[in-house]
């Protein structure tokens, strides 16, 4: 999803260039100045003893970047924040991943990290909701919980001694994700927030912004401790239940396309921005399939440039 293959006509190209140029001029000058590439020297004061963080190394007493990114300084710490790189997990991150393998007592998940993540059976709340020791029977029934290629939402638990990444899903809000779309965007576009689960009531859609750049847009599921999950439903009724209304499916597609456009433009993905983009497509009568076209792409870039300009003006007005 790096770049949509677009055929822009002359006016669209000019408009896009203008919008991108505007964005560039709006960005704080400090951000552009702090950009470094591999092997650039990072200027530091020799007097204050600094701490070298990620993406830096020491070469003949100079601090040198080992990555392309932006230099960040927090007190004494100097590090390079990467842009296009794989996901770097932090404890407590909410992530979305795909099961690739079932191993003894664990699932292996692809989460766009340099290794596969591990979800142990023991760090999973069982579907019956009872806290107990996992037995051999549970182990045999693992495939009834998650199968290969299932999409799962979980939380980063931490690193084990051997360097492998462990996940946990000890709450009802985590677990299998069904009836929706998984979108994969670069991880730097998702910022860590307080809230990563969003229920968009207007659309009856759940939006999960995984910190690892996996984004889930799916039908809203009611999460509650009291939902009677033990009740075995006859096959016929599950089939009826599997049916997602056409309206909801359209909403899912619209939001998913909004995410696609925004990630192709390289804008930070926030719920507000995604909703705004989807709304804009509705209000300007853009069909769902036309959202990935050149016209809407340019339109989104222009809207974002305008939004940021307004934000900046408001900020300077407040001052």
């Amino acid at each position: 999803m790096r770049d949509l293959q677009l055929s822009l006509n002359q006016t669209q190209r000019v408009r896009l260039e203008a919008a991108l140029h505007e964005l560039q001029s709006l960005a704080p000058a400090a951000a552009a100045a702090a950009a470094v590439t591999v092997a650039d020297t990072i200027p530091v004061n020799d007097e204050d003893n600094i701490l070298k963080g990620h993406g830096t190394s020491d070469q003949d007493g100079e601090v040198v970047a080992t990555l392309c990114g932006v230099v960040e300084r927090v007190n004494k710490l100097v590090y390079v924040r990467t842009l296009r790189a794989r996901y770097k997990p932090e404890v407590g991150d909410i992530i979305v991943g795909r099961v690739i393998e079932i191993a003894p007592k664990r699932w292996r998940l692809e989460i766009n990290f340099s290794q596969d993540a591990v979800l142990m059976l023991s760090s999973m709340s069982l579907p019956d909701g009872i806290q107990r020791r996992r037995t051999a029977v549970d182990e045999l029934n693992m495939r009834s919980i998650f199968e290969e290629n299932d999409v799962i939402c979980a939380e980063v638990r931490g690193f084990q001694h051997d360097g492998s990444l462990h996940l946990q899903a000890r709450s009802q809000k985590y677990g299998k994700l069904e009836r929706g779309q998984l979108l994969i965007v670069p991880a730097y576009l998702v910022k860590r927030r307080k809230q990563h689960f969003h229920h968009l009531e207007r659309y009856d859609v759940d939006l999960i912004l995984g910190c690892n750049g996996f984004i889930w847009v799916g039908e809203h599921v009611v999460v509650g401790e009291n939902t009677d999950k033990t009740e075995v439903k006859p096959a016929l009724s599950t089939e009826v239940e599997n049916f997602t209304p056409l309206e909801t499916r359209k909403h899912i597609c619209r939001l998913a396309n909004a995410v696609r456009v925004l990630s192709a433009l390289g804008f930070t993905l926030t719920v507000e921005l995604i909703i705004e983009t989807a709304e804009a497509s509705v209000s300007s009568n853009v069909e769902i399939n036309a959202m990935l076209g050149a016209e809407f792409y340019v339109h989104t870039a222009e809207a974002e440039a305008k939004r940021r300009a307004d934000l900046l003006r408001k900020k300077s007005g407040a001052r």
Partner: protein, 223 residues
């Protein structure tokens, strides 16, 4: 020196990718990883990342269309050369238990494919956000009619003179690759080598420009 052109982000699915042109030589590189080791048997040291490289020449890249089987000796050798050169610069100890795949494909061959591949791989690795000691660049130089030549094209290359390919770590001023396929007197070799290193530095400057521009653009759009 022939005209250089570098473009980042040409393969959508890859973690990092780049297109690099040196005159008429045109190379595409794609980097996948760091990712889980696919073949556990290949992993020698679990504390370091495994770097793999595959070099291929497109069948249409040369004038005469010859059938080259995938495992021919020339491409295996160049794969190895590229792998070793890149491995010298990648900080493999930061990515334990993972592997990095570099795929380079020659789209158009006009001499100096080896150098172009290394330059393209550097761009792609930097795009993939893989930590590196330094930017590796490579350039070839030759000696024809008692004049040292920089960045040989196919005609110059096939004229029969010596051909020196040099790869350096641009900032640290260290040589990571040196290949020569003929004999040269010591004093002329030094001149040729000097010229090649100068070429490498020029390429390093260009690559750095491309990367910096790309980083700035991404950061500005992110907002």
């Amino acid at each position: 020196m022939r005209q250089l052109k570098g473009e980042i982000g040409v393969v959508a699915k890859a973690d990092g990718s780049a297109l690099f042109e040196m005159g008429n030589t045109r190379v595409i590189a794609a980097v996948y990883g760091p990712r889980e080791v696919q073949n556990k048997g290949q992993q020698v040291n679990s504390k370091e990342a495994l770097v793999r490289c595959e070099y291929r020449m497109a069948e249409f890249s040369t004038g005469d269309r010859r059938r080259k089987p995938k495992g021919d000796r020339r491409s295996t050798e160049i794969s190895l050369v590229i792998r070793q050169t890149m491995e010298a610069s990648i900080l493999t100890h930061l990515m334990p238990r993972s592997q990095i795949d570099i795929f380079v494909q020659v789209l158009q061959a006009d001499g100096g494919t080896r150098s172009a591949c290394i330059n393209a791989a550097t761009l792609a690795l930097a795009d993939a956000g893989i930590p590196m000691r330094d930017i590796v660049t490579s350039c070839s130089a030759g000696y024809l009619c008692s004049t040292p030549l920089l960045d040989l094209n196919y005609i110059e290359d096939s004229a029969g003179g010596p051909d020196v390919t040099v790869g350096i770590l641009a900032k640290m001023d260290k040589v990571t690759l040196l290949q020569m396929d003929a004999k040269l007197p010591m004093d002329t070799f030094e001149n040729v080598m000097e010229l090649a290193i100068e070429g490498c530095k020029a390429i390093a400057n260009y690559i750095r420009e491309v990367l910096l521009e790309n980083t700035k653009r991404l950061e500005c759009q992110r907002g």
